[in-house]
Amino acid sequence: MTGGLVAVWALGLQAVAIGATRWPRLWLALFLSGAATLLGAGLLALGQGPLWEWRSELAIGGEPLHLRLDALSGLFLVLLAFISGAGPLHASVAWSQRAPAATARRGRTWWSMTVLCTSAVLLCSNGLHILIAWEGFAVSAYCLATLERERTAVRAAGWLFLAASRLGTLALIAFFTLLAVRTGSFDLGPMRACPDLAPLFWLALVGFGLKAGLFPLHVWVPSTYAEAPSHVSALLSGVVGLPPLNGFVSEWLIALGLLESAAAHADVALITAPALIALTVSGALVLATFVKAVSVTFLGASRDARTRSTVREGDWRERAPMLALALGCVLIASAPVAAWRLIVPALEEVNPLWTGLAPPAELVTLGRVQVALAAARVATTLVSAACVRSRGRRRALTLHCGLAAPTARMQLEATSFGSIATSWFNWLLGPERRYARPRGAFPQHAQFAERIKEPVLERALVGPVALVLGASAWARRRQHGRPQSYILYLVLGLLAVSAVILAEVAL
């Protein structure tokens, strides 16, 4: 019982916080206490507590309110509490010092709304109410992602996000309505026992997949994540961390499953063995991409003078939440068994067969090895630091192999860095290249630009979207501003109605 009541209390705190956006500190205090309460509710639900259910006579949209907190929603509440709590802390400096007051206030309002609606989605157990909360989440996330809407790119990204959200919501409306038609009620119950509902899965996959950014439904992801403030992108993507800080534990568990089926010589290994190889290849490509992004953004010397003068290191308040999330990853790597125990109650909700799954013995060993390796890393880093401190006082220009006056612009660009790996996929990606070759003994100008079109948005969708836009433009021209046309439509309409009536009379 307690977990659910705590969750409702958390929702209340977040709702109150919306009223306090004018006072940043009060809002932050209220919001953070709401997030902490949400975290407590999630942990209580995960801690094998009894399922909490609350049905009320109060009807919203004609459907009685039905809230439910089980271990699965508890797990997601915990994740939501972590990320939503870290976000405002990260943004507090930007919102209080750099952003205009109105923008900051809007940011606080929509942040609260997004978290409130997401919590409601996790707690509601009625299809119609989930749809309403989902819609609230989509709208507030749009407003949050377009906080800096004075920039054209932000507005364009926002429209794309909104369009994708609409499509997702359409699929979800179809899903919940068909579900209600088949089960006789909007109330959600266990669907595992109803195999006839399986075809509806595809609608849910499109609806939720669009928001989750699953390929090929990810069209809104690249532009929205790039243009939205970083903490908003983190909230939208639910980022809690990345390898290698998590010690590849999650990847290890997936790969172990694939490997065990190969070792057992099961028929399924005909799929799992190639899948494992493909997973490794994609992992190596991810490493290359990650290194590229990090190096271009953070490493080496700043390429242009304007960036050098305006960009500064973040305040501790901006770094602390990121460090806290990174620490979470390190904890998962060091204590994978504890993370396993935390997740198992949620897995039981998904499939009762998975009740009381004990962590595999190898996971225990892996945790110990990770701790030993981490300790060794710390020790060698300390030795390295001591060496640098005692013998690394000399500073010099980066070695440029004989070049006397290197400049920051001579560093490798991201395109060049990725050119080897991307060249293998040219047949698939079809990059657009623009050259202006250097000419003559004293070339004045040279240029090289390469751009890879987004495969879904800029290739696959171009044709269908052009068709829809063409049809819409044609329909719009037919009904826009010409009285002669309207009279013609009226006459045609009357003729059609007369024809129907005459046909009925004749029969």
Binding site: P243, P244, G247, F248, E251, W252, A255, L256, L259, E260, A262, A263, A264, H265, A269, A273, L276, I277, T280, V281, G283, A284, L287, A288, V291, V294, S295, L299, G300, A301, E362, L366, V369, L373, A376, R377, T380, T381, S384, A385, C387, V388, R391, G392, R393, R394, R395, A396, L397, T398, L399, H400, C401, M410, Q411, L412, S416, I420, A421, W424
Partner: protein, 302 residues
Amino acid sequence: MSRLLHALVSLVLLLGLAPLLPGIVGRVKALVAGRRGPPLGQLYFDLARLWRKDIVLSTVVSPGFWIGPAVAWVAVLGAALLVPIQPLGAVISFPGDMLLFVSLLALARFATVWAALETGSAFEGLGASREVSFAVLSEAALVTALVALCVQSGATSLEAMLTPTSGAAGVLLAAGLFLVLLAENCRIPFDDPATHLELTMIHEVMVLDHSGPLLATILHGAAVKLMCFTALLVSAVLPTQRLDGWLAALAWFGGVLSVTVAIGLVESFMARSSFRRVPLLLTTAFLLCFFALLVAWNEGGA
């Protein structure tokens, strides 16, 4: 032998003997070329000299520059501890440890590349780009070889899966793993560790800016990695587990020596391939391992 003593002996063997391998390769190359060549223990002298030297840091680097080599060294050592040394066996062994082996090698690569990119040098960027790109193919070949071993033995731990078989699978696996060894350790024909042309380097160009103890860490780490891959190849191909005690140790050391000499011979008789041909060679390595996997699957099913 107690676990602690076993771990200590393995550590000493790994850390102590690893720098000998590049010395053997160098000596083989020198003998083939009709020279006397540097002493076998040249790398030991180099490491001792570098450890005493000062460090020069670039003006643009952050702490990642000197944390990178330390992290990479530990990762490579961790990976090496998973590979069995006969007759002692592996220091760490548990089901699924081959996945940790692959991820540790990836982490080492990540740390080295990060440290290289700290400098902002275009040359080091080129080397880093080549390193991470070619790693896509070499990792695929390595994992395919390990999956083949896994299918062949029915085990998921590195120590248990290294049960050599005769026949086609063994030959294919040996050839594939030898190519992976050459690629992962930046040897000819993939890379030339002795070249003086920065534009044609992969690994060497990434560490141009490192000096003193940092460079010593990197060079020692590279030697441990070479030892690790040599041990992996020997254990995958040579059935030393069937021998006892000293005989197994002798056979294993003989195997390691043979592979090292083979590397030296390859370096003596081949030139470095052009970069356009490197993916082709790595694809060949992948295909060899893949055919080994198919043969292992077929034999396992029979």
